[in-house]
């Protein structure tokens, strides 16, 4: 049972003080996670059973906010304050009367009912999902990646010339939390894991995306075949499902990544109702170093339902129509 302990050690190494670690170990769930004698349930063919629907909501941000530099985790009191402040900040039911500008009010198109990013920090009260580098932030982009990023950003900043100027989530090609890797976001932070002999399938709620992971040791696809979600291959390392993905396209980017990204994801069931999901992004073309995030997943009894995105994507029409209409208005001579 080295895997949960390894993850635990990594979290500690990532900057939790020993006193903090001891305090956390007292926490019931974390204690279960760290308990050496807990053994993951097995499938009938003998591999750890990861099946079920798992919820990965949390308000712990991917990157540590600048204001919390040097602070890997919060105390209980600090966490309560952080959560309260964060929930108030994110509250989409605030209106002009509550101090928003008209533009901000209009921008809060979905009211609070639709948002479901969770209400709590991770149980270990981390200030970033990133645990490595220890600063909790994504390493700098390489010059090449910076150029790519600037180009994308410039395209996103103006009225869209065509659908390609909007992000893949708005185009309904990939869900905004679907990565890969998976990262908690606005809503539908659920993943349904299936296993049959030789396969694991990671079905994320956003846009119903099923990543089918062969576990039979076959080679990756040839380099000529590129995919939005890459090409996943899995193996067991102890009780941990390790999924390595390559063959990404140059048409999408995860926080600045490029087509040569190697994504390594680890799924470890550390308790009856917990999976620790850990991923490492390695892409020397894009980042000055690899980086790793650790995201808890909680079992949920709720089923997932279809998320039909493209089929109802009226926004793409209205965004483009709006952009063209604005150009007409801008081009029209002003009234004398």
């Amino acid at each position: 049972m080295s895997s949960p302990r390894r993850i635990w050690n990594r979290a500690v190494a990532a900057g939790l003080s020993l006193a903090m670690a001891a305090a956390l170990a007292a926490d019931e769930n974390e204690a279960a996670a760290a308990r050496a004698d807990w053994e993951a349930p097995r499938t009938t063919w003998g591999v750890p059973d990861l099946r079920g629907v798992w919820d990965f909501r949390t308000i712990t941000p991917l990157e540590r906010p600048a204001s919390l530099q040097g602070k890997a985790a919060l105390s209980e009191t600090e966490a309560a304050t952080f959560q309260q402040r964060e929930l108030a900040r994110r509250n989409k039911d605030r209106r002009v009367a509550d101090g928003l500008t008209v533009q901000q009010d209009v921008g809060a198109a979905y009211n609070q009912f639709w948002w479901d990013y969770g209400t709590e920090l991770t149980e270990d009260r981390r200030t970033s999902l990133i645990v490595d580098p220890p600063g909790g932030r994504i390493p700098d982009l390489t010059p090449g990646a910076k150029d790519r990023y600037q180009t994308t950003r410039a395209a996103r900043a103006g009225p869209p010339r065509g659908p390609e100027d909007r992000g893949v989530a708005e185009r309904c090609i990939l869900g905004f939390n679907a990565g890969p890797p998976y990262t908690p976001s606005a809503y539908n932070n659920n993943i349904h894991i299936f296993q049959s002999p030789g396969y694991a399938v990671l079905l994320i709620e956003m846009v119903n995306d099923a990543r089918i992971v062969p576990l039979d040791g076959r080679p990756h696809l040839p380099g000529s075949i590129r995919q939005w979600r890459g090409d996943p291959r899995g193996r067991w390392e102890g009780d941990t499902l390790v999924v390595e993905s390559t063959n990404f396209t140059d048409k999408t980017s995860f926080r600045g990544s490029g087509p040569k990204m190697v994504l390594t994801e680890r799924f470890t069931r550390v308790a009856a109702d917990r999976i620790v999901y850990e991923y490492t992004v390695s892409d020397p073309d894009s980042f000055e170093g690899p980086w790793t995030a650790l995201i808890p997943m909680k079992r949920t009894a709720q089923p997932m339902f279809e998320y039909a995105c493209h089929e109802g994507n009226y926004s793409m029409f209205t965004m483009l129509e709006g952009a063209r209409a604005a150009e007409q208005t801008d081009a029209a001579p002003e009234n004398p």
């Binding site: 009938t44 299936f194 119903n208 089918i212 080679p219 089923p303 029409f317």
Partner: protein, 276 residues
């Protein structure tokens, strides 16, 4: 089926006997005690795991049809529509008169109206016989079917007949059970917007599909779907076609995220023109 407005004329007994005999003669596994027994999953169910695909032209037209030119002139012979014997039991889909007119309108305006042209999820049963592979991943409680076309997928909830779906879905709501060697799936809660093929065959939100997947050999499944929709048809009707295991070395589903391929069609007229 008394809720159907008109029932089919009763065929003469001799014709019926002839039909039954013909069906028994051509269908593997249909009676005669020669049922194929599929290998079992670790939990003792027929093992349908694998990557499957339909061959043939049901995706063009469920009914029998002659070959014809395709709509894209520049595609020439490669874009033409091949003929097909049809997969509808009894040849013709029993439409109500108004619905027959609607189908003719669909056929006339096919490219504008066919939801699959826009990369919308194809629904059930159409997803099964699109010319793309799909993968079955079986667990005791859930069976996942992941389709290559449009990255569509659906979860079949096993042995939960009372599990109601709160709304409608493009891929419907699937509840399954085992009947001997067959996986039987009742599919409800369909949106009215999906079609059955590219010939304009359609349904309403009252659609109910009962699918039956029966292994007939190590690399073959018989796919049957009974289709009921009292708003559109005069009686339930049935399609049947074989599914073939994809035996390619290291076979896997590849991405066919077709949104990208439909964007120009859907949004091209809203693009910023060059030089503006």
């Amino acid at each position: 089926m008394d809720r159907y407005r008109s029932l089919p004329a009763v065929a003469p007994a001799s014709a019926k006997v002839w039909l039954v005999a013909a069906v028994l003669a051509i269908l593997p596994g249909a009676g005669l005690g020669q049922e194929y027994e599929a290998p079992q999953t670790p939990d003792g169910r027929p093992n349908l795991n694998g990557i499957w695909q339909a061959l043939g032209t049901a995706h063009w037209n469920l009914e029998g049809h002659s070959a014809e030119a395709g709509p894209v002139v520049s595609m020439g012979a490669l874009g033409a529509i091949p003929g097909g014997l049809g997969v509808v039991e009894g040849s013709e889909i029993p439409y109500q008169p108004w619905a027959l007119e609607r189908r003719a309108d669909h056929a006339k305006n096919w490219l504008e109206l066919d939801p699959a042209v826009k990369c919308y999820m194809p629904g059930v049963p159409r997803a099964t016989y699109m010319p793309f592979p799909f993968q079955v991943v079986q667990t005791p409680e859930h069976i996942l079917i992941a389709y290559e076309f449009a990255s569509a997928s659906r979860v079949i909830y096993m042995n939960r007949p009372d599990f109601e779906h709160p709304g409608d879905a493009w891929m419907g709501h699937s509840r399954g059970r085992w009947d001997g060697q067959s996986l039987v799936v009742e599919v409800t809660n369909h949106v009215p917007g999906t079609w059955f093929d590219s010939a304009g065959n359609f349904h309403s939100e009252s659609l109910r599909v009962v699918e039956r997947y029966t292994p007939t050999g190590p690399d073959h499944l018989l796919y049957e779907a009974t289709i009921e929709d009292e708003q559109v048809f005069t009686r339930p009707w049935k399609i049947r076609l074989p599914l073939y295991r994809r035996l390619d070395v290291n076979m896997q589903l590849l991405e066919f995220k077709c949104v990208e391929f439909a964007e120009e069609l859907m949004y091209g007229h809203l693009r910023k023109k060059d030089g503006e």
